[in-house]
Each structure stands twice: as structure tokens, then as C-alpha cells.
């Protein structure tokens, strides 16, 4: 088993695969955070008509099967589809787009629920002290930061481990759209289970490292 891990680590293609994995998942996560935290916070802080429907849609979005997202994104980006002229299909851009769609509901819904769970008295207190609505919102968000971090961690875990979407819209092209999960599927398909397991371990270790870093960031802000 150790030799297989060493064989996987020694493969020069592995650097490209790991680098692309982080670039795709990292980009998707950043976009999902940029859109999901503000939208989730807004939805959690304000009462607006249709709030229940929005909540329902976001919660359902958390359970979207990645392969279905991949299929829909493929149909949209195909040359025969509406956005074919973007030429994103079978490039990392399509993979980022698909993973953003998967990650966004997770970030938004969990941020919304974290913000919703903050003691309403806090808002009243802060307003009574003369805070603007912007300052109030920011204070509530900071108070909910553990929940928001959990939202980000959940989204990260969801997209770094998915394979259906990136396989369909990326095509697992060697050197260009191959990430750890699709490489594992390829090794498995070819019957090289030892290499597949080794790649899986690499993926787990990387996820471990990323989550440790995220928790560290959260811990420092306390």
C-alpha cells in the first residue's frame, strides 16, 4: 500500500491534478461565498414576501445531485445549447460554474439559518446604541460567524468530493480538466484500485489540511 501511495505521489501529472482541483474548487467556493453570504444574510435578517419559498428553494438546492447539475450545465454550455458561444465546455470554467451552482445553496441556506439564529435582542441593543442598519447587519453577521464558517466548510466538502458534475462538463481531459475525483474514477475504471486508493488518500489529506486552515482562521477571530 505504501508503495502505491509513493507511486501516486511520484507521478508528475499529480501536481497538475492537485493544482487544478484547488483552483476549480477554490474559485467556485469564493464565488459561492461572495454571492451566498450576502444573500443568505439578507434573507436571514429581513422579512419579505416569499421568504418561505426562498427558504424552501435554498434547502432543496442543498440536496441537488451533482451529476444532475453537471447534466444541466452541460446542456446549457453545449454548442447546441443557449450559452455555447461562451466556449466554456470542457474547460475549467465550466467546472467552476457547475461547482458554484452546487456550493451556492449550501452557503446561502446555512448562512441564512445562522443569521436567523442570532438572539434578536442583540439587534435591538445595537440599534438602541445608535447603530445604522448596515452596522447592525454586520454585527449580527459577526455574531453568527461560527455558523457562517460551518456553511463554508460544508460547501467546500460538498464540492471537493463531487465527481458527477466535473466529469460531465470537464471531460476529464488529461492535463487540462482532470481533478482528483475524476482521476480516481479513471483509475478505478482501469482496474488500478491501488492507485485509486492512493489518490483518494491524497484527496482526504488535502481536505483535512484545508479544513484545519479554515478552523484556524475562525479560532483566531474569537
Amino acid at each position: 500500500m505504501i508503495e502505491n501511495i509513493l507511486r501516486a505521489l511520484a507521478d508528475p501529472a499529480l501536481v497538475a491534478i492537485v493544482s487544478l482541483t484547488f483552483r476549480v474548487t477554490g474559485s467556485a467556493l469564493l464565488v459561492a461565498i461572495a454571492m451566498g453570504v450576502p444573500i443568505g444574510a439578507l434573507a436571514g435578517l429581513t422579512r419579505f414576501p416569499g421568504r418561505r419559498l426562498v427558504t424552501l428553494v435554498l434547502y432543496t438546492g442543498m440536496g441537488l445531485p451533482p451529476v444532475v447539475v453537471g447534466l444541466v450545465v452541460y446542456m446549457l454550455l453545449s454548442r447546441s445549447g443557449p450559452f455555447g458561444s461562451l466556449e466554456w465546455l470542457f474547460t475549467p470554467s465550466a467546472m467552476v460554474a457547475a461547482q458554484t451552482i452546487i456550493a451556492f445553496p449550501l452557503v446561502a441556506a446555512l448562512t441564512m439559518s445562522a443569521v436567523d439564529g442570532v438572539d434578536p435582542d442583540l439587534r435591538l441593543q445595537v440599534r438602541a446604541l445608535g447603530a445604522t442598519r448596515w452596522q447592525t447587519g454586520w454585527t449580527v453577521l459577526r455574531e453568527a460567524r461560527i455558523g457562517v464558517t460551518a456553511a463554508i466548510v460544508a460547501a467546500f466538502g460538498g464540492i471537493i468530493s463531487e465527481v458527477g458534475a466535473v466529469m460531465l462538463v470537464g471531460g476529464n481531459i488529461e492535463g487540462h480538466t482532470r481533478v482528483l475525483t475524476t482521476a480516481i474514477v479513471l483509475s478505478t475504471r482501469q482496474g488500478d484500485f491501488a492507485l485509486a486508493m492512493a489518490l483518494g488518500l491524497v484527496l482526504l489529506l488535502l481536505a483535512l489540511g484545508a479544513n484545519a486552515a479554515l478552523l484556524q482562521l475562525q479560532g483566531r477571530s474569537r
Binding site: 455555447g84 470542457f90 470554467s93 475504471r189 482501469q190
Partner: protein, 306 residues
């Protein structure tokens, strides 16, 4: 400035940043290298055997381009071609290919190479397939013995051939109400996975010789039961596995890289490449894994007519 306005503004910024990042990564990159990327959709066997990895570098250096290989299986490859999402196909399902050309998605299709299919199965050969003299007789024996049979079930070239043999044998497993359907296991996956599955389940299956040879060492419980020692020695001509290259027609799908696709097809059927295909894997296996049979290779210098 209200909190909600700020948040909405941030969201819009986020989306704008995303759009910028994504377009810088994909769109302009593709446009800039439009002339130098060829998208090839092919079956898993040309990749899993290592053939493409062995011959493509020569084409890439000749044309100064990059070939993006999508190993997806014949059914999906043809569908990608129908949608104009790839530039050229290299597949092995002549009937499906003919339909593709007839539908107007391609102006030409060329023979490239062939090998053959063999029937593998459990070492004990419970259905007595070794005694069969043709593939369809072998299949009849499997059906008669209700021995487990693993099918690709994925509209691949192999699956298409397998169904044709069942039809010619007069057996139709898997259909609604078909007798003995319980022994017919349609896994819906590629050749490697199907062989691994057959190995686990001690089932018979139809496989292309090249994938079988490249995976043999890992499949301890399977043996080749029918098919002869090499492609020319296969007793049943029905088991011939013909590969074809099909450049997608840019007149029908304006986004495809027509010139590069044609150049690839010409290179693939040219004598030097055909010879390289014949040499691939020959030392290790004792015989070729793919036998070249393009018109160019077979001719003695006659002018090619489209």
C-alpha cells in the same frame, strides 16, 4: 446606505467578479488557441490500452497543436458529435457511424484499424463455450446454461456488437419477459469496469482483445475462452472490431475546428501512422493490438477519392 443595499451591491460585485474570472479563464483562452486545440471524442479502448498516448505526441508536434481526448464511449462520443461539441470522433460502431454520416453531421468517414472481440469467462467454463465454433453458438451455450453474462449496456461499440450476436443467435436476454433474464447483467459501464465486474462475479463477457490483454494480469478469475490467439487467428469473422475516424462537418456545426479535424483524419490514415499503430504493443503481447486497415495503407499508392 442601508444594509440591504450594501448586501445587494456585494452580491452583484460577486457575480461580476465571477463572470470576469471565468471568462478570462475559458473564453479568451479558447479563442486565442482556437487554431491549436483539437477535441477528439473516442472510445475507452483507444485510451485504456495506451494507444493514443503512444501515437498522439507525434501529431501534436507536427501540427503545433494540442489534442484534448475525451474518452467517453461510443454512444456518448457520437452524441457529442451530433451537438457539435467535439471536432472529430474515433469510434468503433459502423452502424451508428453510418447513421451519423447519413444525418449530415460529417462529410466523410475513414477506416482506421481493426482488432477483434474475444469472449472471456470463468476458468471452469461452466457453459462449455470452449466447444463452440462461432460466437453466436457460444452465446447460445451461455443462454442455455443460464450462466452469468456481463454486458456493457452502454451503447458502446462493444455493446452494439454484443447485441448483434445475441440477435443472430436468436436469443434476446434482458428484454421484457425474456426467459432467463436473471443471468444477464447489464452494468452500463466501460470495458475496464465491466471486466472487473465479470471477474468478481465469475461471469462471461464480450471484450475487445486490446483491453483484455492490457488488463489480463489483474483479472485472476477470468480466462479467454473463445477467439483465437490473435486477431487474424480469430475463428469467427463476426467478431471483427472496426474503428473509424469521423471529422465533424463545420458546415453543419460552425463551432468545430474543421481544418484541424481533417488534418488529424489524414494523419491517422497515412502510412507512417498506420505502421506505428501496427507496432504498438507488439513487443509486449507478441502480436499487434490494433491492425491498420485504412485505404491508404491497403492501397499501393492509388489516388484517394473522397
Amino acid at each position: 446606505m442601508s444594509a440591504s443595499r450594501v448586501l445587494v451591491g456585494l452580491s452583484i460585485l460577486g457575480i461580476a467578479a465571477a463572470a470576469h474570472a471565468l471568462s478570462a479563464d475559458g473564453g479568451t483562452a479558447r479563442a486565442a488557441t482556437q487554431a491549436s486545440v483539437l477535441r477528439l471524442a473516442t472510445t475507452t479502448s483507444t485510451v485504456d490500452t495506451g494507444l493514443l498516448a503512444a501515437i498522439l505526441p507525434e501529431f501534436q508536434s507536427q501540427c503545433g497543436c494540442r489534442v484534448d481526448v475525451l474518452a467517453v464511449g461510443t454512444g456518448q462520443a457520437i452524441e457529442l458529435g451530433r451537438r457539435g461539441d467535439v471536432d472529430v470522433l474515433l469510434v468503433h460502431a459502423p452502424e451508428q457511424e453510418a447513421v451519423f454520416v447519413a444525418e449530415g453531421h460529417a462529410a466523410r468517414r475513414d477506416d482506421v484499424m481493426y482488432n477483434d472481440f474475444v469472449i472471456v469467462g470463468p476458468a471452469g467454463d461452466p457453459a462449455g463455450v470452449a466447444q463452440a465454433s462461432t460466437a453466436k453458438e457460444a452465446f447460445r451455450r451461455v443462454a442455455a446454461a443460464a450462466a452469468p453474462f456481463a454486458s456493457r449496456g452502454d451503447k458502446s461499440g462493444t455493446h452494439t456488437k454484443e447485441l448483434a450476436i445475441w440477435r443472430s443467435a436468436g436469443v434476446f436476454p434482458g428484454g421484457a419477459g425474456a426467459p432467463g433474464a436473471a443471468w444477464y447483467l447489464s452494468v452500463g459501464q466501460g470495458m475496464g469496469e465491466t471486466l472487473t465486474f465479470a471477474n468478481e462475479r465469475r461471469a462471461y463477457t464480450l471484450t475487445d482483445r486490446a483491453t483484455w490483454v492490457s488488463m489480463q494480469a489483474r483479472l485472476r478469475d477470468l480466462r479467454q475462452i473463445f477467439g483465437g490467439a490473435s486477431s487474424p487467428a480469430n475463428p469467427d469473422r463476426d467478431l471483427r472490431n472496426q474503428y473509424g475516424v469521423i471529422p465533424v462537418d463545420p458546415a453543419r456545426h460552425p463551432g468545430v475546428n474543421g481544418p484541424l479535424a481533417l488534418r488529424f483524419a489524414d494523419w491517422l490514415v497515412s502510412k507512417p501512422t498506420q505502421r506505428r499503430i501496427a507496432e504498438f504493443g507488439r513487443d509486449a503481447a507478441g502480436h499487434s493490438l490494433f491492425y491498420p486497415d485504412s485505404d491508404d495503407y491497403k492501397s499501393t499508392g492509388a489516388v484517394r477519392v473522397r
